[in-house]
Subunit: 289 residues, 3 copies
């Protein structure tokens, strides 16, 4: 057990000005004074479950084993959607059952998921004896995270589940032996267009593509001599890094999260190339078997 | 004493880009290396003492005893307004005497307040021998918070006071035995309109209202069968939670801080209903004695 | 050595929503579980090396000895610009060789600088065996900061350097014995216009000016009876603090970082006076020898 100085990371769409995140940190520290709250972000666009799922998947795997990740982007608070607690890959996850945890859990064989229904582990605000109906971040999710961080067994927090909601992602299509079609998932803070084309390895000549987002392709797809990416009317050269083109020039590259990105050096691909989420992206190469 | 790992929370309107908050954290850690700075927010709208007071009152009560809360929203820096240190309810508070601490102190019987005048506990920036005239966050408030966190007695920091500034809030009016009139205090990040109508308990049938913001009503007001809230031309049903109406539909509900709120499910009441701070809100029910 | 509970501060232009900063914190904690990440800011305007350098210089000197400061504002990631590790004034600094560290190092006689080239201290993301080409914050700078915080010697991280890039600043000009000409460097969050006129001490009558940003003036310049600052068509009185003028009135004053600032009490000098970076500022007094 790694509970001596347990880290709890936080991802919300609350902003910070209203003190809601502060309230969550207070609950964490009141339940488990050793907890160490580490902000990932509170600036997820409101109710953007996909963006939160990506933030989590960019950051969570880098944390040490034993970390608890607390995610509250929860448009369905107060409805029947279930609050989840998860143990997977040596880490804990807590968040609503709306798919926000599904990206980071994808492909993990050993995972245990519970519904956080045991009221003994909820927080009771001053107004009554039960958790609030509007702020599960404070009353259900933070207490669960604090208890997990303190070493309480996941199965104490509620009954085990075998099904939960997964985000659906746009699938990749192999249009021809040398044309793979994906799309722009989102634009990051720098205006880079992150696509759903996941790259396992790029040797500079061969691209080995993860079939994670592809349907019906179980083995990695290898595109040999992959060299160009088309998006809207733009044809973009594939490079290793921004520095290989001039400032202001567009390029495609494998981003830090392993997804193919379209970027403009020292500028915004979103603005300069007029890209938006959902735009089709065509990667051209030659399929190798 | 709970000073082994003392938490100091921070609320400012500084933003973070200029490094001013970083400077405050540096002073905290230089004076007391055990201090654990926990951000509540640095995104209070500039000089908005009311919003800061609400953030503090949403978050502070959830923290464990012994926490020190540091609030620097200080339009009067460099004027005669006094810097305050407070001990109340087992916690410490530090901030300017402009009302920002008054909401969280309201109704506390045991509180001790001092003016932070003892220069031995100020920080002297490199430019001279006294605290700066423009950055008391760094030079007076952070040092006071660090010293309190380190276990220095409050009364060491300056002379005790018996008066300080309280924020004035719009008062509630019982216009008829079944009509309570309050108003919108502010719009939160989600566009929910938070009102000054404080609710002690809502059974689904009876609303028991805290007279905290009311004048001349010392006992709780009970409205039986309270069912509707009017604001501008809108008449809104009272519900327990967002999920009881369809996405896009407006409602009134008791928010997580115990105040009546007007919301639109998965959207902004501020935008959809055109609400603004100061708008009158009428809660209709039947007064019970 | 002060490595028991080593603080690592973070300054980036990443924002937080994409999880990139979260990934850096994960790497820090995975390499050195004792590391204590303290956010200074992630809201530096994109690629604004100057603003990051000022944030760092406002905040870093206040931290205790032994702190490691991690700065990733890095428009040249993936180009030949070198990643730097620095030991100076009892603190560690890590960041790209683009001048972002140069302001805080200015005038320090004892400093040791290395290029972070030892790959044994890089982070290898899942995609391959080497650091990424696009996210040195995660793969080179955070690991270096974590290793320094853990007590690894600076010289372990790469070969020592004797030259690095310094930011160039607009220089001060003594236009006449009583007229010093500088300029607006940037507008802070409050709309205060921070100038390049550094003040060593202001007695209320004499201004002693640091020649830090001046060319050819090695000794401090003393302006006696300095009383007025001109910028654009405005003539501003010099005061100790905002409170000495009425709300809404403009003034000049020595800001908390020791630089002359132009402000409007409780409002924005940027907006009210139409000031912008680069605007000339003339300080009028009488030079004393």
């Amino acid at each position: 057990m790694d509970i001596k100085r347990p880290v709890v990371t936080l991802i919300t769409d609350f902003g910070t000005a209203d003190g809601y995140v502060g309230a969550m940190k207070g609950v964490l520290l009141s339940i488990c004074p050793q907890v160490w709250p580490v902000d990932i972000t509170h600036d997820i666009p409101r109710h953007d479950v996909y963006r939160a799922a990506f933030s989590l998947s960019n950051a969570a795997p880098l944390f040490p084993a034993g970390t608890t990740h607390l995610v509250v982007v929860d448009p369905g608070v107060g409805t029947m959607r279930r609050p989840l607690g998860v143990r997977a890959g040596g880490m804990n996850y807590v968040g609503p059952d709306n798919g926000v945890l599904s990206l980071v859990l994808r492909g993990r064989s050993e995972q245990k998921v519970v519904a956080l229904e045991n009221e003994a582990y909820h927080h009771s605000p001053r107004l009554g004896d039960a958790a609030s109906h509007t702020f599960h971040g404070r009353d259900i999710f933070s207490p669960a995270a604090a208890h997990l961080a303190a070493g309480v067994a996941l199965t104490e927090l509620g009954p085990q589940l075998t099904d939960w909601i997964s985000l659906s992602f746009p699938t990749l299509t192999l249009r021809s032996p040398h044309e793979l079609v994906g799309e722009v998932l989102y634009l990051d803070r720098f205006g880079n267009a992150v696509t759903n084309i996941g790259v396992l390895e790029w040797t500079g000549h061969d691209l080995q593509l993860i079939p994670a987002f592809a349907r019906g392709e179980e083995a990695p797809i290898v595109l040999s001599g992959a060299a160009a990416v088309a998006c809207r009317e733009h044809l973009l050269p594939l490079h290793r890094t921004y520095g290989e083109v001039s400032p202001g020039a567009p390029l495609a590259l494998v981003g830090s999260s392993g997804l193919l990105e379209i970027a403009v050096r020292e500028d915004s691909a979103g603005v300069c190339l007029g890209l938006r989420p959902g735009d089709p992206v065509v990667l051209t190469g030659r399929k190798r078997n």
